[in-house]
């Protein structure tokens, strides 16, 4: 075969391969966006996951809250409230509050739920109405709302014709991923704070200080092996070995701290490897130059070698962040799968990936929500990427 044809075949293979990869990656993005974009909104990001049930005492006959502007849904001028039929992110039918007049008697009420009696509670846009207790024009107490399988129009006409509203039972907005977002960031910070210094320092030791002994080789081999260990094994180890450690800090269950510790162990080999690779590329002549100027070995390493290696180390950090965001197997054991709206260091929580896992492993997989979360994950990775790149640029501005 002539060289020309061989070249052509090789070129075609590379073109073809890159074409396939671009197509596949593009398809993933298109799939995620087409499925999840409609579910994606700001409320999803800032809301709690669990909605609260609230019962407020109203005891009012209403008033006149006529407004001039158009509002979404059906507006009741007597009560100053607009309602709309909607479907929430869990695919349940709800009656949603789309507008509430600031002076409406339904806006601010006293709670009559057991536990927080007489606490002031408010009704906000986006909350859903479960039940409204009314007294009809005939003086008969009854109720209207979602639990009667009524729609927004019926509820509005019922309360408009009623003599008075005695109380209202409603749900705050839920289904948001705020807590998982926070937990994910928590986890990134905890695992990096632990793994980065340890990983970088041990890589420095292995590459710069340790002699080329057999033991050293063995350690290196071990680290390389650890990079390939499935994370579920780390998860098992975390829950058995590291749980007692978190108990010292007062943990009683699996916790975000435990997840962070486990993640930091998962990250350690990655960070060590990328740091070492970065150190290998630093030219020996720079080390010689520094030493010949009477710098000590540690001065050489921390003032000359390490700044040159920052780029490589940050690549390791980037890979680590990706790993933390994407991890689910190791975290099921160590953090639990309970979606916790007020994540704390020693409480359970879920990351975004775990949340996707929960949604998809339920009886009715929620593709839309999972895709929406995936988009958010993509955005987070992108933003962190930019931040790390900016830091790298700042560090290496002299490395032209």
């Amino acid at each position: 075969m002539s060289t020309k044809i061989k070249d052509k075949i090789l070129n075609t293979i590379t073109y073809f391969a890159s074409g396939i990869s671009v197509f596949v990656l593009g398809a993933v993005l298109v799939f995620l966006f087409s499925k999840g974009f409609s579910t994606l909104n700001w409320d999803l990001i800032v809301n709690n996951y669990w909605s609260q049930n609230l019962l407020g005492t109203v005891d009012s006959v209403g008033g006149d809250y006529t407004i001039s502007e158009e509002v979404d849904g059906i507006y009741s001028a007597r009560w100053g409230i607009a309602l709309k039929d909607n479907v929430n992110s869990q695919k349940e039918k709800v009656i949603e509050v789309t507008y509430i007049h600031p002076e409406s008697p339904l806006k601010t009420m006293l709670s009559s739920s057991a536990g927080d009696n007489n606490k002031e509670i408010t009704l906000e846009d986006g909350y859903t109405i479960q039940k409204i207790d009314i007294v009809t024009s005939d003086g008969i107490p009854t109720f209207t709302g979602k639990i009667m399988s009524q729609d927004a129009a019926t509820v509005i006409s019922n309360i408009d014709s009623a003599q008075k509203i005695t109380s209202i039972y409603y749900k705050t907005t839920g289904g948001g991923i705020r807590s998982s977002l926070i937990t994910t960031l928590y986890l990134i910070v905890i695992s990096l704070v632990i793994a980065l210094p340890i990983g970088v320092c041990s890589a420095i030791y292995l590459h710069e200080y340790a002699s080329k002994s057999k033991l050293n080789k063995l350690i290196r081999q071990g680290i390389e092996t650890l990079t390939g260990v499935p994370s579920i094994v780390y998860g098992l180890m975390g829950v058995t070995v590291l749980f007692p450690v978190t108990q010292l800090f007062g943990a009683t269950t699996t916790s975000i701290l435990l997840g962070g510790l486990t993640m930091s162990i998962i990250l350690l080999p990655t960070i060590m490897k990328s740091t070492e690779e970065a150190l290998i590329v630093v030219p020996q002549s720079l080390r010689d130059g520094s030493l010949s100027l009477g710098a000590t070995k540690s001065q050489t390493i921390f003032k000359v070698v390490l700044p040159c290696a920052v780029n490589g180390i940050l690549t390791g950090v980037l890979l680590s962040i990706g790993r933390v965001i994407g991890e689910s197997a190791a975290l099921i054991y160590t953090m639990g799968t309970f979606i916790n709206d007020s994540p704390k260091l020693l409480s359970q929580g879920t990351t975004l990936s775990l949340m996707i896992w929960s949604f998809m492993s339920g009886e009715q997989p929620n593709f839309e929500l999972a895709s929406a979360i995936s988009i958010i994950i993509l955005v987070i990775v992108l933003v962190l990427n930019f931040i790390v790149k900016a830091i790298a640029k700042k560090f290496t501005k002299n490395f032209a």
């Binding site: 080329k212 010689d288 130059g289 010949s292 100027l293 009477g294 710098a295 000590t296 000359v304 002299n398």
Partner: protein
């Protein structure tokens, strides 16, 4: 004449291989001494013995003594850091640190714990002036040293070395990576520096050795074949091998 190094019976081994054999030599203060010889003859290795840079190479063993100011630098009491501040080194390839020009020159003093900004500025300015680089870089001291040309980078490395105010400057083929114009500048610089410093230079160019050095040592296969006044070495070499080498019959 004052000596800066007295080398006695120096042997150097890389593992089993002997790279230097029974070297005896006196190196004089405020003179330029050139080491010439074919590649692999041990001249660079010997140069690196003088500031103990060979310590970094694994499996390198040294027998014999090198005395500086009456003290053996290979005795266990020697502070290597202190030795290297007194015996600076310029390498074959310019190796500026990836920092600003200022930080490069201030690196050595800073490592010694000097923090006073004004004092550092004085040192940097003085060193750059001595290295004949100041005029070219005075407006961009805070720019990356890697933006300089090869010749400028090498002069920066010399300035970096001078900033430590060493007694001796070791130069390991400092011009071999440079063009003729940059080489001429460095040679001029060496001429000026020898008033203040002892300079020991390894070079592949015999013309360079004859131009700039006061003393010349000819190395062959790890031995010093001839060491004498440069003029004598080049005009009336005592050894046949030296004559063959400098007349270009081998090497």
């Amino acid at each position: 004449m004052e000596t800066s190094f007295i080398v006695k019976d120096l042997d150097l081994f890389y593992g089993d291989k002997q790279a230097l054999k029974k070297i005896n030599m006196e190196l004089y203060k405020n003179k330029v001494t050139a080491f010439i010889g074919p590649s692999g003859c041990g001249k660079s290795t010997f140069l690196r013995c003088l500031n103990r840079m060979n310590d970094l190479i694994e499996g390198c063993k040294i027998v014999g003594t090198i005395e500086k100011d009456g003290v053996n630098i290979y005795s266990s009491k020697t502070d290597i850091v202190d030795l290297r501040t007194k015996v600076g080194m310029v390498f074959q390839k310019p190796n500026p640190f990836p920092m600003s020009i200022f930080d490069n020159v201030a690196y050595g003093p800073r490592c010694q714990g000097l923090k006073d900004k004004k004092h550092l500025e004085e040192i940097v300015t003085k060193a750059l002036k001595q290295a004949a680089l100041y005029e070219e870089v005075k407006d961009r001291l805070n720019e990356s040293a890697l933006g300089l040309s090869g010749g400028q980078q090498q002069r920066l490395c010399i300035a970096r070395c001078i900033a430590m105010e060493p007694e001796v400057i070791l130069m390991d083929e400092p011009t071999s990576a440079l063009d003729p114009i940059a080489t001429a500048k460095i040679e001029e610089l060496i001429e000026e520096l020898k008033n203040d410093y002892t300079i020991i230079i390894v070079t592949h160019s015999m013309q360079q050795a004859s131009r700039i050095s006061d003393y010349t040592a000819f190395f062959l296969l790890g031995e010093v074949v001839e060491f004498d006044n440069t003029k004598l070495v080049f005009s009336t070499p005592k050894d046949k091998r030296t004559e063959d080498y400098i007349t270009g019959r081998f090497g």
